[in-house]
Subunit: 346 residues, 3 copies
């Protein structure tokens, strides 16, 4: 596809062809900036990658609205198009060149589907899929090979279940969700009550509910509770190897990075960002728009709109200051000992 | 079921009907206290949930032996029953209303079972299960769809293997165990010896042993060792996404929360509690009854009955004090600099 | 096998038979030092295990070149062989007694293999395996039951895929690799761009590449990027439950312990060791030969050959000193308050 065609399809008005430059290379694909062969389109968001404009062998670049960078590109014979959000535009450009794999509609004969299952139109069910009694599948559902769905689960329209994931009994998965390989939705929460004669198992009679547009990463686990629901609201995106304990309530439009762990009954507001390996203790409440940086350990409630860090988590600002001093503790301690000795002597 | 019948079945002697209150609502199910529709039974353990007695729309409550709470319930028209362990009683109440899904006895024709497999009576084997040579299955074993069992593993009576879990060669799983979806039992430990020409793979000839009553959470991994056993003793419960390295020995009645990781050769005593995301280094020994709070990083042995926290883990008491001061480090540092400058000047 | 035969097969010249001791026990197997029945061979690397030579019931020991230990062994009637690397020699000894399970060549009739798949010679494909269009399988590939391979993936010679793992579209897996149960290779990276109307999904058009000799542990997840490759170079070994984000580049001969998490675009050099539960933030670069101790949280680049620890990670030396002082913070703080009060008064 010609660069001019890319510009047209992305509907961008600010680009090198409009800036007295007649470069119109053939774009054969997209590539990362540090490994972009000739013929590819790449992008630069600015910051430490800005210098890459002088090194890249890409034929075209998506740039921020930075005239100097644009000029540098032209000088190196690189066509450009500019946008305030280069990464978003790049995402749209990928969609011009790449169509994700999607199997053809149809039910493989090796799938084992209980006769009571309700099936929407235009669905795909791959080989060795097992769908048990009372399950409901919406329209255009796509179920990859070796998925298992326990009884009475519901899968909404256009939802994709990737290979080897497991959906447990009574789970409700909305429309346009993606459950990645190996994820387990709605299994029993970890409910054991200590007694003198050992653990008493609390049966987990509740269910897991994923609203529309939720994605769950590979090998993540979303438990169901003893009573009530574990609920993940609309358009929340969860990365790989994440644990969501029984009875958690997660708001909409959140993003939870890999290996995050939420204990039982945690309440997370809307638009919350939890970075990698964050842990949140039982029953804690995280306000709307809050951010927890990587590896934070949260034991108490977090106010809306705040950023927290550390174990136990404190305000990110304080964490930055305190952790910068951490390395100086030995020096401080030595001085403290001197002072103390001195003060004891006096 | 009438409230009076619930009381009778749970065999509780302390309740509102016995306290001059004739409320006997129909109980249709159980619910969490903050989302309990009329007709449901819920529970309050006390603490920060006590205030919920004034807000809940539950028709009946399990309460602690707290007369004031009981009086409040009555005033709001809520029947109650009381017990020193409300959560345990609630667990028993769930069992009155909920019967966990259990497939009917039988072996699905799509299961691939080696002719040498020994099979107990009244077992369930779901679709697409693969059971390899020399495996022994006890009575009433329940093997959900798409489980794979490698050669010569043993599964004890009444043990359940959930969909998509994998049991590796020579694993010994006792009676009344539950292995949740995606868990992997007895795979090769991570045994690579560094040499000048790269990693030398140490074959893992040992096996994983789970004694009776052990539960392993979804996507958890229990490795087998080079020689000897990785052993998890009776009634220990392990949550999701937990890693148990090769050669670990875990005592009985422990609880390991989600995302805990044990390196190789760790020895854990009986009745140990490891909270979420705790990590324990190679060969460390954890004494009976010890507790590690969430995210602790344990490098050294932990004495029986102690509580540890932090990275590296120290006494929980000290951790609480020290971490409370962490936020004040900037202030301390500033003062330290002043003092130091002052002391240098003198 | 006689002890003398073990010595001969391992080609060791330094042993008890050569040291005027005629002990030549029958060796029936190998065992860990603290649970070694008579008839077994075990090993001691020194350090805290050295005392075990006085307690073990093993019939033979691999020892370090330590004459005192060797003398102690003889006095207890234990044959020994010695090497500067006892663990490596023990690994070689295991290989004399243990042959890992390997299924016979053949393709199970229940496997679902697309007609376009290219198949090498002498491969094993287990029951219920699903291999989709355009996949290439090398010679002597071993694919255990219930594995799913998405379209156009490539699996090199002698590579083993364990039960229930999933290989996503276009992944390239080299020769002599091992992918353990439940691992997911080449699934979509976590690519969501924030916009005013919510998350915009960035399609992940790249692929995951594993070079020769790579091992990926159980339930680990290796994501593919939006463009370009996620690459793991030769002979790097990755343990269980590890997350490798989209676009990471990992060098050769690294070892990543369990539950390590790498965010997107991380660059790891050769011969790097990441201990358990380490986390590395987006785009960070880790130099050749660097080591991160357990639970480190790395936000910035790490110099080659250095050891880092802590959250955020600092030099291991500094971490050791600073963390030793952590417990004294309360004492320091109290003194600081006194001093401050005193200084305010003056």
């Amino acid at each position: 596809m010609k660069f001019s065609e890319v510009i047209q399809k992305l509907d961008v008005s600010f680009h090198s062809l409009a800036s007295n430059c007649d470069l119109d290379p053939e774009i054969t694909g997209l590539a990362p900036i540090d490994d972009a062969p000739p013929g590819t389109l790449s992008y630069i968001e600015g910051g430490k990658f800005a210098a890459m404009v002088n090194e890249t062998t890409a034929s075209a670049l998506i740039l921020p609205p930075d005239e100097q960078l644009q000029q540098q590109a032209i000088e190196r014979g690189i066509a450009w198009l500019a946008d305030a959000e280069p990464r978003l535009l790049f995402a749209k450009a990928i969609a011009l060149f790449y169509k994700p794999f999607r199997p053809d509609v149809g039910i493989h004969p090796s799938a084992v589907i209980h006769p009571s299952v309700q099936i929407g139109r235009d669905i795909y069910v791959g080989p060795n899929v097992v769908i048990q009694a009372g399950v409901k599948l919406g329209n255009e559902v796509c179920i990859h090979p070796n998925v298992v769905i326990y009884p009475r689960a519901e899968i909404g329209d256009r939802t994709t279940l990737h290979a080897n994931c497991t959906i447990h009994e009574r789970s409700k998965i909305g429309a346009n969700c993606v459950i990645h390989s190996g994820a387990v939705i709605g299994a029993e929460g970890f409910g054991f009550v200590p007694t003198k004669s050992g653990w008493f198992k609390m049966e987990q009679s509740g269910c897991a509910v994923l609203e529309d547009g939720v994605e769950i990463g590979c090998n993540s686990t979303i438990d169901r509770p003893a009573v009530g629901e574990t609920r993940i609201a609309q358009n929340t995106k969860i990365d790989n190897l994440v644990q969501i304990g029984h009875g958690c309530q997660i708001g909409s439009n959140c993003a939870l990075a890999a290996q995050v762990g939420l204990a039982g009954g945690v309440k997370v507001g809307n638009n919350v960002l939890l970075a990698g390996q964050v842990g949140i203790a039982n029953q804690a409440q995280i306000g709307d728009g809050a951010i927890a940086t990587a590896k934070s350990g949260i034991h108490n409630d977090v106010e809306p709109g705040t950023i927290v860090s550390g174990i136990p988590a404190v305000s990110h600002k304080i964490f930055l200051k305190a952790s910068a001093i951490y390395s100086r503790l030995p020096e401080m301690y030595q001085f403290f000992r001197q002072m103390k000795r001195h003060s004891n002597e006096n």
